[in-house]
């Protein structure tokens, strides 16, 4: 208990922890956990109202006979999305972030602990509706699916370059409304590819189910 450093009170403890690295370390651990249990994880990212839940419902409907699926639905406070997806007959875990605008590695790690990973082989995670913050918080899935919709206007890809670059598959939703919105779907797809040339781009109308098979093919499911 003796105060050894005479004139300067106390002693220094060197920590040197990069908290931004901790974010990716957590994601790496989640990914390792998924792989160890043979689970394919897909992080679905898109703005509020872009159609994430509708897309997930359509994917579940077409894939549930071939895969044991579970869904994690991230939302700030409600469980509307979870209820909608549960109607498809697969287990849904609702995460309420309580204000946070994104899921992060820590939140997802806790959620994974509540799932029986040996009983599933496809895990779809619906991120919080936001294309900005989740870019800084990888959660550790094998695949990130970016959902844009024409009702968000023509500039979604150029306004979110960081997110576009991180995504593996970009899905353009509500193409049946493109004329009414005066949005050029081809241009939007070109914008996506100009930021991220290797990305796969699929156009869909999630409500009617148009193009969903193309999403499944792009996800290699």
């Amino acid at each position: 208990m003796a105060d050894t450093n005479a004139p300067d009170r106390g002693r220094d403890i060197v920590i040197d922890v990069d908290l931004s690295k901790r974010t990716s370390e957590l994601a790496d651990k989640n990914l390792a956990l998924l792989k160890a249990h043979g689970v394919r994880g897909i992080d679905v990212l898109g703005s509020v109202g872009s159609g994430k839940t509708t897309l997930i419902k359509q994917l579940v409907r077409r894939l549930k006979d071939r895969y044991a699926i579970a869904v994690i639905a991230g939302d700030i406070t409600t469980r509307i999305d979870a209820d909608r997806i549960e109607a498809e007959g697969v287990p849904v875990l609702q995460i309420q972030t309580g204000g946070a605008c994104h899921l992060d590695g820590e939140i997802v790690r806790r959620a994974l602990g509540r799932l029986d990973l040996d009983a599933i082989d496809l895990l779809i995670i619906e991120n919080v509706g936001n294309l900005i913050c989740p870019a800084a918080f990888p959660i550790g899935t094998q695949t990130r699916l970016l959902l844009l919709s024409v009702t968000e206007g023509p500039y979604m890809a150029v306004k979110h370059p960081v997110m576009v670059r991180q995504a593996d598959v970009a899905v353009i939703n509500k193409v049946d409304l493109a004329d009414a919105m005066e949005v050029d779907v081809t241009q939007l797809a070109d914008d996506v590819r100009s930021v991220h040339p290797q990305i796969k781009v699929v156009s869909i109308a999630a409500r009617s189910g148009e193009g969903i098979d193309g999403v499944i093919a792009a996800l290699e499911l």
């Binding site: 208990m1 106390g10 403890i13 908290l19 931004s20």
Partner: protein, 129 residues
């Protein structure tokens, strides 16, 4: 942006280290903040102060060193510092650095994207072994 989240993580890191060392008081916290983190040092210090109330680190002096964004261009190999503009727009969209020489946005970040808890100064315990 995420100043509260960052402050919470810093507080957790600091308090854990203090506990492991059996410290009675944390007098000072040294942080290093990269420009690319978009964290605001004043806001961060404010939240940290609030979160640390009632802990062994209540009232600790918080020292923030700001680190510039350093990049390497993948196209022309230029290396140097890039100014991160203080523009509210980057709270809505991420800042994408560009090469100062050829303008390419194929950029590798060398430094300035980290939020580091460097060291803490504590009093009490330790040197028992």
């Amino acid at each position: 942006m995420h100043d509260v989240t960052a402050a919470q993580r810093i507080a957790t890191t600091v308090l854990q280290a203090a506990r492991e060392q059996g410290a009675e008081r944390v007098e000072r916290i040294d942080l290093a903040l990269g420009a690319m983190t978009m964290l605001d040092p004043e806001s961060l210090a404010f939240w940290l102060e609030q979160i640390l109330r009632g802990t062994v680190a209540e009232g600790a002096e918080v020292e923030v060193e700001q680190l510039p964004l350093r990049v390497r261009c993948k196209d022309c190999a230029w290396e140097g510092e890039v100014e991160v503009p203080d523009d509210p727009i980057y709270h809505l969209m991420p800042f994408a650095p560009k090469c100062a020489v050829c303008g390419s946005d194929e950029i590798e970040v060398l430094g300035g994207d980290a939020c580091v808890v460097r060291r803490i100064r504590v009093t009490g315990a330790a040197e028992d072994d």
